[in-house]
């Protein structure tokens, strides 16, 4: 076994570091403490992305490409990293990458660089003005810092003609905007940057990014207060969903949460928080009591200001696209929801989508459950498996032996659990899910086993495994334990992961649903693009044909694809669906195909009608769901289809 120290100082070439860095997907999980391992001290202290593991990885790529030359600031960036190894633990959990090796290679690069060659970056009038607002330390025009924001708000092909500024309160945001306007400089806010990261390798990058100007990094707006009496929380724009959920849980409350790394305020703005808890907890403006916003003139407003014009409505129709937020939300007072003592997970396995969908919508309309979703086999495999290879084998076993293609996942209290169990023949419970998490490595090795062959010959393998005597055999075969699952990690991290997997929450499906630390595993060294949207559920065939359209596109363009999830909204009258395409973001050819899927699937969805596509969702989260989802969108006409194409041509230009 290699010791911690030996691994930590292991030397790799700059070229190898670039190869590791290229696999990074800007998931942002290194910016908050989701494993109780601590969080990067340099990032926490300095704030700018270049000081975080994620930013260092991007910086290494940008230095390698020659887009940025070493500046004196780079010395400070590398010196701020003590090679403490926290980033390796966090990143390895989700992506199996080792960012510390990249940080070490960057240190070596700087050590060997001719000291006279470091560029000195001078302060200009704009920077001086920004520093007067936020303080010397929190505004920069340093190219090395700017370059680290590539792919998470900045495109990869522009000059580094930007400023990064980190305000600490709403008033400073307001002043920055007024200053930007006075100087006619464009600006864009940034929180986690994860939504842009997903778009960055595609044709959407141009429309969603900032072409020049001021990036307002909202990380320092870190107010977080729980108000147990009113079941609300005041959340600053720098707070992630995980951090909110953690504080809420201390008060036996729960927030409607998207992915762990999503920032609460920006997630509200961007999509209105798409979550499997949405049927019960709400969507769009249901999520908050109040918002503090700064508009593009720098005026500070609150939604609760009774004199202001209705801030909850938005124009309907397919042309109502918005590529940037209308306002910067600097603070939100969000709703929290009670956690019940008797909450549990019930998973209902299916071999076909129609039956799974039918059950989901029935439960949604009856108001059963707190969290409701159809999850695909691919989702389960990605989430539960500690490594990419195990996820592939896990998927294979489910598909070829168990015929386990979908599960309806229900988080509910005991009353609702009984309702679900009465509706179906068999379920998967918390205990078996725990075994699947801790026994995932063994489960994946069963693919050539006699046990699986026998099971696959059963008329209904799902029944045999989940309701029959085979279940005990399976649990035994899995040999689930924190020790066994930790063995798949690098030698020096095994002890750490043994402790991680020993924690009850790591196998508690209710906790995992609420804290959502596992979905980032979909970004394991590759990207995914998840188009979809919300469709009316009044016509089952219409809905399923819509999903089939995404599947056909994946086949046609030869991209790995799978349904992600379906979750009901508005008492089951709508259901949100994400269809995922997995691809290598460093391969330009597949990026082009993904772009085509994004554009074509949106056009086809609009032609089909009764759907609000993900692009129509963008930046509508602060409005009432009644204004966003209704009136039901009719399928667009030929003339409108032409207009849509022209519109996209305008937005995407020759890149389309």
């Amino acid at each position: 076994m290699t010791s911690d120290k030996a691994i930590a100082v292991e030397k790799i070439s700059f070229k190898d570091a670039v190869e590791i860095a290229k696999k990074g997907t800007h998931c942002g999980m290194c910016r908050f403490d989701f494993l109780e391992s601590g969080v990067c001290p340099a990032g926490r202290k300095h704030g700018f992305l270049a000081y975080w593991p994620q930013g260092r990885m991007e910086l290494v790529q940008q230095l390698d490409s020659g887009r940025v030359k070493p500046t004196e600031k780079l010395i400070d960036i590398v010196n701020s990293c003590s090679l403490c190894g926290i980033c390796d633990k966090q990143c390895n959990f989700t992506t199996q990458l080792r960012p510390e090796k990249v940080a070490k290679a960057l240190k070596d690069f700087v050590d060997n660089f001719d000291k006279n060659e470091f560029q000195n970056v001078s302060e200009d009038d704009i920077l001086r003005g920004l520093r007067e607002i936020v303080g010397e330390e929190w505004a920069t025009n340093d190219p090395c810092i700017i370059a680290s924001y590539t792919m998470s708000i900045l495109p990869s092909n522009t000059k580094l003609n930007y400023y990064i500024v980190m305000p600490e309160n709403t008033e400073q945001v307001s002043k920055i905007i007024r200053f930007a306007n006075k100087n006619n400089i464009p600006f864009l806010p940034r929180s986690g940057g994860t939504a842009f990261s997903a778009a960055a390798p595609t044709v959407l990058a141009k429309g969603l990014s900032l072409e020049q100007g001021i990036v307002i990094d909202l990380y320092r707006l870190r107010k977080l207060e729980i108000h147990p009496e009113s079941c609300t929380a005041t959340v600053g724009a720098g707070i992630t969903m995980f951090e909110l959920q953690k504080e809420a849980l201390k008060n036996k409350l729960r927030a409607l949460a998207a992915e762990a790394g999503a920032h609460v305020c920006s997630n509200i703005v961007t999509t209105g928080i798409i979550s499997t808890w949405g049927n019960r907890y709400g969507a769009f403006a249901d999520n908050f009591i109040d918002l503090t916003t700064v508009d593009d003139e720098g005026d500070i407003k609150k939604h609760s200001d009774w004199e202001r014009n209705n801030p909850y409505s938005t124009e309907p129709g397919f042309t109502n696209l918005s590529l940037t937020p209308h306002n910067i939300v600097t603070e939100a007072v969000v709703k929290l929801h009670p956690i019940f003592d008797d909450e549990e997970v019930v998973l209902v396995p299916f071999d076909n989508l129609r039956d799974a969908y039918r059950l989901l919508i029935k439960l949604g309309k009856r108001g059963v459950g707190l969290s409701l979703a159809v999850l695909s086999r691919k989702y389960l495999a990605e989430f539960l498996s500690p490594t990419l290879q195990i996820s592939k084998d896990f998927d294979y076993v489910c598909k070829n032996y168990l015929k386990l293609n979908y599960v309806v996942s229900v988080i509910c209290n005991q009353d609702d659990k009984k309702i679900v169990e009465d509706m179906v023949d068999y379920t998967i419970d918390q205990s078996l899910m725990k075994s699947l998490i801790l026994g995932a490595p063994r489960f994946s090795t069963l693919k050539d086993s006699e046990f699986m062959k026998i099971l696959s010959e059963e008329e209904d393998p799902l029944n045999a495994i989940f309701a029959g005597p085979m279940r005990d055999h399976l649990e035994k075969a899995l040999d689930p334990s924190p020790e066994n699952v930790s063995k798949v990690f690098d030698d020096d991290l095994q002890e750490f992961f043994k402790k991680v997997y020993s924690k009850p929450e790591m196998t508690d499906i209710v906790w995992l649903h609420a804290f959502r630390i596992l979905p980032t595993r979909m970004l394991r060294q590759q990207m995914f693009m998840g188009p979809g949207g919300a469709m009316w559920t009044g016509d089952e065939n219409h809905y399923l044909n819509w999903i089939q359209m995404f599947s056909d596109m994946g086949d046609k363009l030869n991209v790995e694809h799978s349904l992600g999830f379906i979750t009901p909204l508005d008492h089951g009258k709508f259901a949100y669906m994400e269809y995922d395409y997995y691809y290598d973001h460093n391969d330009p050819d597949v990026c082009d195909r993904i772009s085509k899927i994004v554009v074509d699937s949106m056009e086809q969805s609009l032609v089909m009608g009764k759907v609000l596509t993900i692009l129509n969702y963008l930046f509508k989260g602060i409005y009432r769901k009644e204004h966003v989802l209704y009136p039901l969108a009719e399928g667009i006409s030929k003339e409108e289809q032409e207009l849509f194409k022209e519109l996209l041509e305008t937005v995407l230009g020759e890149e389309l």
């Binding site: 306007n181 006075k182 593009d296 918005s322 590529l323 207009l643 230009g653």
Partner: protein, 137 residues
């Protein structure tokens, strides 16, 4: 050199549109009016506007004013944005459509209708790009 929003800009713009653009072919016989409000004009951070009216694709009015309203005529559409955004559009760095979708230019009224207008107005924008080559710093 013709400076954006100057009297000369209006005069040359009018002449260019009338002489070079075909009302049917280039301007699709469009009948509409547009108020373009330009905010944060340097060096004194003032606001100006231009009013443009077309009837059957023929230019009827092209007027520049100070302030953010034009009292004599009520435009069908109002597009509002800062000087830098208009400059980017007229320099060809950003299309009118993307400026609207990025909320750099705010449309008063239906975005659907405004976006439908963009195509027929393309000729006008191209004309203004051709003649405008001086901006405030």
């Amino acid at each position: 050199m013709v400076k954006f929003l100057s009297e000369e800009w209006i005069e040359i713009g009018k002449k260019y549109i009338l002489e070079k653009l075909d009302p049917v072919k280039d301007l699709k016989s469009i009948t509409t009016s547009l108020l373009g409000v330009v905010e944060h004009i340097p060096p004194d951070d003032i606001t100006m506007n231009f009013y443009l009216e077309l009837e059957g694709g023929k230019l009827i009015h092209f007027i520049v004013n100070t302030g953010d309203t034009f009292d004599e005529k009520e435009a069908t559409y109002e597009i509002r944005g800062n000087y830098g955004t208009y400059k980017s559009v007229l320099q060809g760095k950003m299309s009118l459509g993307i400026a609207v979708l990025k909320n750099r230019l705010k449309v008063k009224g239906s975005k659907m209708q405004a976006l439908k207008l963009i195509k027929p107005l393309d000729g006008v924008i191209v004309s203004l790009k051709e003649i405008t080559d001086e901006f405030e710093d």
